[in-house]
């Protein structure tokens, strides 16, 4: 008599549909890393709330979702305003009745050394990259807590983990975001997971716009790449893979963590 072989993957979720039945709200998903995450999460069954201040970008992402037979809605708001964070959460609840994944990916990147950073640059950077995420989490958490729980994913940066030159407000905001995320992980542990993705240099439309304004861009990228152990810039899809992992039940015991998406840069530095 032979007993049936045990299914050694029985404890794992369905690898093809990691987010079946779930709703993901992704800020800054009108392009770049946010869009890539929207597409891959939707491919895994999530319905996506596409938030971006760029109306055309948000619409395009929804169109791409529809082309792959996924479901999504566009919400055009500027997340640096608190009322807008409340609104995007309200829209998601009204339309889908739940939020399982809150992916705070939207950010502004402004360079400037401490002595050159104006009050306005400081305030805008802190508002968009730190306060906005507090507002979004505060708005979404009650729904996650009264529902089936949830996963919060916040985008920090290599620059929030190490010191560097010329990113005074940005680095501070991203480092603050790491601590805010860990705080949420600790406060809402039983039901909500909260983790950080810390991207390094990712080749997105925003990155390209910066390059276009830089003298000797090609040489600069070459030098940058030499310091990255994987010897290439990251792609939006590289980051989206990590976001999918954090959003899904593949990471059910991970909370308060910082996952680099940097080709090994932080380890090198």
């Amino acid at each position: 008599m032979t007993s049936p072989k045990p299914d050694r993957l029985a404890g794992f979720p369905n690898f093809d549909r990691l987010l079946d039945g779930k709703v993901a709200l992704i800020t800054g998903s009108g392009s770049g890393q946010g869009r890539a995450a929207a597409l891959v999460m939707a491919r895994h069954g999530a319905r996506v709330v596409v938030v971006d201040f760029n109306e055309e970008g948000a619409r395009e992402t929804v169109q791409l979702l529809e082309e792959q037979d996924s479901e999504g809605i566009a919400v055009t708001v500027d997340v640096s305003q608190r009322a807008n964070c409340d609104e995007m959460v309200a829209v998601a609840m009204e339309r889908f009745g739940r939020i399982d994944v809150l992916y705070n990916n939207a950010a502004v990147q402004m360079s400037g050394r401490v002595l050159d950073c104006t009050d306005e640059e400081w305030d805008l950077t802190i508002a968009t990259n730190l306060s906005a995420i507090f507002y979004a989490c505060r708005a979404a958490l009650p729904h996650m807590l009264s529902g089936e729980g949830g996963s919060i994913i916040n985008t920090a940066s290599t620059l929030g983990l190490i010191g560097s030159e010329g990113f005074a407000a940005y680095g501070a905001a991203k480092a603050g975001l790491v601590k805010l995320t860990q705080q949420i992980a600790v406060e809402y542990g039983p039901t909500v997971r909260a983790n950080v993705i810390a991207p390094g240099s990712i080749d997105t439309p925003r990155f390209r716009r910066v390059l276009d304004q830089t003298d000797g861009a090609e040489q600069w990228v070459e030098q940058l790449t030499r310091n990255i152990p994987l010897r290439r810039l990251g792609l939006a899809e590289d980051v989206a893979g990590i976001a999918l992992f954090l959003a899904s039940d593949l990471s059910t015991y991970m909370s308060g963590a910082i996952l680099p998406a940097d080709g090994g840069l932080a380890a090198y530095r």
Binding site: R82, R113, V114, L115, C117, D119, W122, D123, I126, L130, S131, F134, Y135, C137, R138, L141, P142, L145, L159, G160, I162, G163, S164, E165, G166, F167, A168, A169, G171, A172, A173, K174, A175, G176, L177, V178, K179, L180, Q182, Q183, I184, A185, V186, E187, Y188, G256
Partner: protein, 256 residues
């Protein structure tokens, strides 16, 4: 031991009370001329008076660290009385409230005092340190900027951000001989923690519990914070920059 800060001017924000007050007294003992910058006018004046009464030099400047003009006038006042060589950024506020209960105003206020305040002071003060051949910026951080405890979202975020801001400034001005470090005490017998725990129904029970959770089984003391602050301001730490001194009885080591 000879005085270690003789002939130097130090600006101490939040110097009217708590750890800032203690540091002001100690810096004066070490020969520094101290400028007490604080939003609490009578408090700042009385600290300055007490220092002067002990035969040292001190000046009170009233100002709110969240206001650019106020911070600039504090720095100008300090720079006008002698060679400004040290900035001690100790003005801070804290609250105990979880994320879902924290109001917009409270979030913003804590971020403004605990993070924007140090930024404004560095931006205004560092050029003077450079002009005087170098100097030391000592930002009062917190164990809660290194590890987290539930109920302090804004404070943790601000103090965590402060660490990175100081590292940025340290790198940007290393070649100018300006050193920037974070002094991160855990719960101390003076200042914010005492004020904060006083609001609990049984303050002594809170303090005993916090002390018991520390590897050294006690709170830190203001004297110990002053020792570290003098070290950071003095010529005993000339190669120390961009670092975080966890002055916490081993607290952060256990939790990280």
């Amino acid at each position: 031991m000879t005085a270690q800060l003789t002939g130097r001017v130090a600006l101490i924000t939040g110097g009217a009370s708590g750890l800032g007050e203690a540091i002001a007294h100690r810096f004066a003992d070490e020969g520094a001329t101290v400028v007490i910058g604080d939003v609490d006018a009578p408090g700042a004046q009385s600290v300055a008076d007490a220092i002067v009464a002990r035969g040292h030099n001190a000046l009170a400047v009233v100002g709110d660290v969240t206001r650019t003009e106020d911070v600039e006038s504090m720095v100008d006042a300090a720079a006008s009385i002698g060679p400004l060589r040290a900035l001690v950024l100790s003005a801070a506020v804290e609250s105990f409230r979880p994320v879902v209960d924290l109001s917009d105003d409270e979030w913003q206020h804590i971020l403004d005092v605990d993070l924007k305040g140090p930024f404004l002071a560095m931006r205004a003060g560092i050029p003077h340190l450079i002009a005087n051949g170098g100097g030391s910026v000592i930002a009062l951080g917190s164990t809660l900027g290194l590890i987290v405890a539930p109920g302090h979202p804004a404070y943790c975020a601000a103090k965590g951000a402060l660490v990175n801001l100081c590292k940025q400034a340290a790198i940007e001005h290393a070649a100018d001989n300006v050193r920037v470090n974070v002094l991160a005490p855990s719960a101390t017998d003076t200042g914010l923690f005492m004020t904060f725990s006083a609001q609990a129904p049984d303050p002594e029970a809170v303090r005993a519990r916090v002390a018991a959770a520390n590897p050294m089984k006690r709170l830190g003391t203001a004297d110990e914070v002053c020792d570290a602050a003098v070290f950071l301001a003095s010529d005993r730490s000339t190669y120390l920059s961009g670092s975080v001194i966890a002055l916490d009885g081993g607290m952060a080591a256990r939790r990280m």
